[in-house]
Assembly symmetry: C2
Homo-oligomer: 320 residues x 2
């Protein structure tokens, strides 16, 4: 997917805003700095522990705006409905989108529905696009990261992906794994208002923390180092990963992000993050080294250091 975007779409649409390859495009209209982003959501099953296609379609796009440090304002919703989708399902998803939007303080202001013949879709696909406004003067981007920056995450990793996979595989655990799907703008807003000099933000979605770190290392030409023992993964998530043969560092979240902040501000940043329900598990997992290069080093639990490689191929299809 990363390859497809990089090799086909970015050169195909060639322009400076797209070339930045950030979660959101950022541009200026008059005096206003705006962020604009889109995502299509094709997750299966449509309803999963901790969320559904509707809430995910709101959280995912709101979070992409937040990663530019933008306050999410307005969303669009494009629905592609397969003929035969039960009306109650559509109604439930619309209700869920509405509730998620209300909780995020955004409005769904424009929409479109298309119906495709039976067998030409898969129940329901949703595209959301979002517009947000940027009120800070920072350049939140991989090019802003500096040696000594701390790499923070706002909580335990891998729950969204394993919640989906556990349902798909029919796995039962003592307590079910719920998706971490959640909006993270309130945390980002608090960091910015708290005077944290945020250098870069990236939501930990497809490809997990591994993809995020590798992409940012490549974009910034800085070797990153993380410590496996500091990366929070819940025991039940780790167990599910072991059973199904997944690496928790490659599993998608939908309410987690990595923040790159100056090392000396890391304690203050974590204190701010921990005030929020979706930031209680905030911790420092690594740092930006002074070495140029496109590589992520993982200090494993037993003390050895290895290269944390980007997985090839899509590990978990239709996770979002």
């Amino acid at each position: 997917m990363h390859d497809l975007i990089a090799k086909l779409l970015v050169p195909g649409f060639e322009n400076p805003l797209l070339r930045r390859q950030h979660d959101s495009a950022v541009f200026t209209v008059g005096q206003e700095h705006l962020a604009f982003t889109t995502d299509s959501y094709v997750v299966r099953p449509i309803v999963f522990p901790g969320g559904d296609l509707g809430s995910l379609a709101v959280h995912g796009t709101v979070n992409d705006l937040a990663m530019a440090g933008a306050r999410p304002l307005y969303l669009s919703a494009g629905m592609i409905i397969e003929e035969g989708l039960p009306m109650e399902t559509l109604r439930a998803i619309v209700t869920s989108m509405r509730a998620a939007a209300d909780a995020c303080g955004v409005q769904i202001v424009t929409g479109d529905t298309k119906v495709v013949d039976k067998g030409k879709g898969d129940g329901l696909f949703i595209n959301t696009a979002g517009v947000g406004v940027i009120g800070h003067g920072l350049n939140i981007h991989p090019e802003s990261i500096r040696p000594g920056d701390a790499i923070l995450v706002n909580g335990d990793l891998g729950r969204h992906g394993m919640a989906i996979m556990a349902v798909r595989e029919g796995l039962e655990f003592e307590s079910s794994i719920e998706s971490d799907s959640a909006p993270v703008w309130p945390i980002v807003q608090a960091l910015l208002e708290g005077g944290i000099e945020v250098h870069c933000l990236r939501d930990i979605t497809r490809g997990g923390l591994t993809s995020v770190l590798n992409e940012i290392s490549a974009a910034s030409d800085r070797i990153l180092q993380v410590d496996e023992s500091l990366i929070p993964v819940r025991p039940d998530v780790r167990a599910a990963c072991e059973i199904l043969g997944f690496d928790p560092l490659q599993v998608a979240c939908e309410g987690r992000f990595a923040a790159f902040v100056p090392g000396e501000q890391a304690p203050a940043a974590m204190e701010i993050m921990r005030k929020f329900p979706h930031g209680q598990g905030a911790c420092r997992v690594g740092e930006v080294t002074s070495h140029p290069g496109s590589r992520v080093l993982l200090k494993s639990i037993i003390g050895a250091t290895r290269i944390l490689d980007m997985s090839s191929g899509e590990q978990l299809p239709r996770i979002c």
Copy 2:
């Protein structure tokens, strides 16, 4: 579709911007008036005479912005790709989108791709959302139309829908019908800059002129009257409609719009429109009556007047 949007989505997402049910949502950020819109494109075949899924996905969204009198600035592109789609097809569509965007003066600045398993999609669906900026002080909306307003169209109707249907049905005509798919912002811009007091604009897409007029009559509580002999339909389009059993007034266009302007400005407005390649066939097809009510009256070619009813059901599936 109209019912589905009105009964499920509008109440479901309830907010004042969506309730206006215009082609674009219009809102203010700081000092800037912006328009925001979305559409998903599922047309089959992917390539048709006069365009393809890619150019259509650009024109359709750019035109929705233009209908708010907004200068289109930025687009997003969300692709839902069915596993097995030939890479050359995707490349051709991306190239076409890029060319259409360049021709419209917009940039595709953010994108997303999702791959779904074979049999769970239909080759390629594209969603585009668009952001535009409004530089005029008019309230371009059904509530602004007045008795005596002229109803103008920018050219002959029904070509997009019949181009698609002719291919699907394997019809051959002496000269093939090409889609009217085209961006209309340059024409709208010229009307605004030419001092035309534009009251309402609506692109003539799904449901054709019949839907547009009925929706605007209902939204403005004004009876509209149109004259069948003034509505331009090309002979080959009319013939194709007769063969296939369609009413040309209910067939979608993708580069045509209805403009409601003060009656006394109609000649000046048509003169402006005719300066553009996609406005050469501009003409006046009817007017807004002084009678309140939700009804469209059609004066037929033989002189009788009948009610022009909204068609029930979707006449032409997957036309855009």
